[in-house]
């Protein structure tokens, strides 16, 4: 257990808000972590170094040079299937907006990274598990199309449970739409870089996640096509140690590198400079 912060003990005060808004349990080691400290440490556990999930806005602050300009911020789903449930889809979306402070599971825009102009898309797992429906697919496509028009590298940070069930086949079609955009973009000779963060599975890993020229996995991320639960239920045998971890993917040749959160921007910028800077004269 983490020690109670001194100011709390001294005043003998009880936090005004519910405890879970102040503390978070590390999924890696079970340590109780003070949220404010955690935010200052890029949400890395002070005890075991575990990478806790990072929201889209924090991630943008981490990677961009402070000049991020959002594109198409106001897109929302038209709820194509008019999905009703005990909790209707529209209501779940409304709840996720409050919870995440976002209108959808991805934020896209333009910025520079160490001075190199790029298009940046960042997914947020706290919005419907980062699932891809019509809006996520549309924003990814618009980002890539905008990068193609401006001849900019595109960088997408993924965090997703896959296609969004509540949009049915419309969600699956986002894989086709984004893939077509990536195909055109790649044909122009422009670089796509993806940073796969925890977790990246299903329809997002099986489309733009693994269509990039350079694929960076963030340390500790779970990455795969099928979710662990599905694999467990299908094969009913013990999964290997570290199965579907970033390191596992590196060892199996699926990603270019595994990078800790603190070094992500440097690793990204290094490649952006390499492909964007003036060519060395022959």
């Amino acid at each position: 257990m983490a020690p109670t912060p001194s100011w709390l003990r001294r005043r003998g005060a009880r936090p005004e808000a519910a405890p879970d808004t102040l503390w978070e349990i590390c999924p890696g080691c079970g340590e109780r972590l003070y949220k404010k400290d955690l935010a200052e440490r890029l949400r890395l556990c002070s005890r075991c170094g575990h990478h806790l999930r990072l929201g889209a806005l924090d991630r943008i602050a981490l990677l961009a040079d402070g000049d991020f300009q959002e594109l198409v911020p106001h897109l929302i789903t038209s709820d194509p299937l008019q999905w009703t449930d005990r909790i209707p889809y529209a209501k779940k979306i409304a709840g996720d907006r409050v919870k995440s402070g976002l209108l959808e599971a991805i934020v896209v825009g333009l910025c520079t990274v160490e001075g190199v102009p790029i298009g940046l898309g960042v997914m947020d797992f706290s919005f419907r598990g980062g699932t891809m429906g019509s809006v996520v697919g549309e924003k990814v496509t618009l980002l890539i199309e905008e990068c193609a028009r401006r001849r900019l590298p595109a960088v997408i940070v993924t965090a997703s449970g896959g296609a969004r069930m509540e949009e049915g086949m419309i969600a699956l079609m986002q894989l086709a739409k984004t893939s077509a955009a990536v195909q055109r973009f790649a044909a122009l000779g422009l670089p796509l870089i993806t940073i796969l963060t925890d977790p990246t599975t299903g329809g997002v890993s099986a489309s733009f996640g693994f269509q990039a020229d350079i694929i960076i996995a963030e340390s500790g991320a779970a990455i795969g096509f099928a979710g662990r639960r599905v694999i467990d239920q299908t094969i009913r045998q013990k999964l290997p140690e570290g199965f579907q971890s970033a390191q596992f993917l590196l060892e199996h040749g699926q990603v270019d590198m595994v990078v800790r959160r603190g070094e992500l921007k440097t690793a990204l910028a290094r490649f952006l400079h390499f492909v964007s800077d003036q060519k060395v004269p022959a």
Binding site: I76, A163, M165, A171, L175, A180, G202, S207
Partner: protein, 324 residues
């Protein structure tokens, strides 16, 4: 247990009875024709009751019916089919069949997801669930189609890409992702047939094309109803409810513009008259190819881009005041 097989049991029994009487009619002196006519009328009525108005869940089971025609049944109906094997890297995946053939004289490359007919066959075919090497074999064929300027025709029938250890180790995500890229930019006509189960990314990996044909009782879904129920409610037992909500039937998908054409099936499903259904489906492919082969490669790829660009757009814009 297949819901349709259960439903049609009384019908199968009745038809057996009719067959028996017909045999007696031929061999005995007694005339059973009146009884036969009455039973046949009853069978027709029963058939209408059973198959006339299938629910989405029943259609899922129709798509999985053990006697439903499989990819190789369609492919074998083409002229001179020659199978091509292997991904050149790891192994030959029997869940995906590839090769070349002639459709009424037109040389085409084919890719099909192949389920098994019985348990032993299904173990060999992995129940039609491809591994990454299956998709990589399909990619070879896609590239051949472009290189040799031959149309590509695919047959979708899979519960989904296989979720297993080896599949993950060898990059199931990358294999599907790469197939999608190749199909999106392929400079030759592509016709896609959904003949049975279209399960998720594992189906879409051979499912981007210029003309998408679907059999009436095939289903095509973002995830199998069981998987969707498990994801949505952590309860695979609610699959029937998921089937209803997912909009996975041919008429619903046609309305959404996700598929371009529905080929109807006889009452009782494709297996009731497989020869006719196979001929009808291939005729639809032929009509589509006759139209598509008139387009230049640039036109094809541009139209394909616009097609999938449009399908996915179900978004609205909130007003500034409401945002954030």
């Amino acid at each position: 247990m297949n819901v349709i097989v259960e439903l049609e049991k009384p019908l199968v029994e009745l038809e057996a009875k009719i067959d028996g009487l017909k045999k007696l009619n031929e061999t005995q002196r007694v005339d059973f024709s009146a009884e036969i006519a009455a039973l046949e009328a009853k069978a027709r009525q029963l058939k209408n009751e059973v198959f006339g108005n299938l629910t989405p869940w029943q259609r899922v089971h129709m798509a999985r019916h053990p006697r439903r025609p499989l990819a190789l049944d369609y492919i074998s109906a083409l002229d001179g089919f020659t199978e091509l094997h292997g991904d050149r890297t790891f192994r030959d995946d029997p869940a995906i069949v590839t090769g070349y053939a002639y459709l009424d004289g037109m040389p085409i490359f084919v890719i099909g997801e192949q389920k098994g007919r019985d348990t032993k066959d299904n173990l060999y075919r992995n129940f039609g669930m491809p591994h990454p090497e299956g998709y990589r074999k399909a990619q070879r064929i896609m590239q051949h189609a472009e290189k040799f300027k031959r149309p590509l025709v695919s047959f979708i029938d899979t519960p989904g890409a296989y979720p297993g250890i080896g599949a993950e180790e060898r990059g199931q995500s990358q294999a599907i992702a790469q197939s999608l890229i190749l199909l999106a930019g392929l400079r030759t006509p592509i016709v896609v047939n959904i003949t049975g189960e279209g399960g998720s990314g594992g189906a879409l990996a051979i499912g981007i094309g210029d003309h998408i044909v679907m059999l009436q009782h095939a289903v095509y879904s973002v995830a199998s109803p069981e998987a969707a129920a498990s994801i949505l409610w952590r309860d695979a037992g609610r699959a029937e409810e998921a089937a209803k909500r997912l909009h996975l039937t041919s008429d619903e998908l046609f309305e959404f513009g996700i598929i371009d054409e529905v080929v109807s099936e006889p009452l009782g499903g494709a297996q009731a008259d497989a020869t006719r259904v196979i001929a009808d489906l291939l005729a639809a492919d032929k009509r589509a190819l006759a139209r598509l082969t008139r387009l230049s490669a640039d036109e094809l790829v541009d139209r394909r881009y616009e097609k999938f660009r449009r399908i996915g757009s179900h978004v609205e814009r909130v007003h500034d005041s409401a945002a954030r």
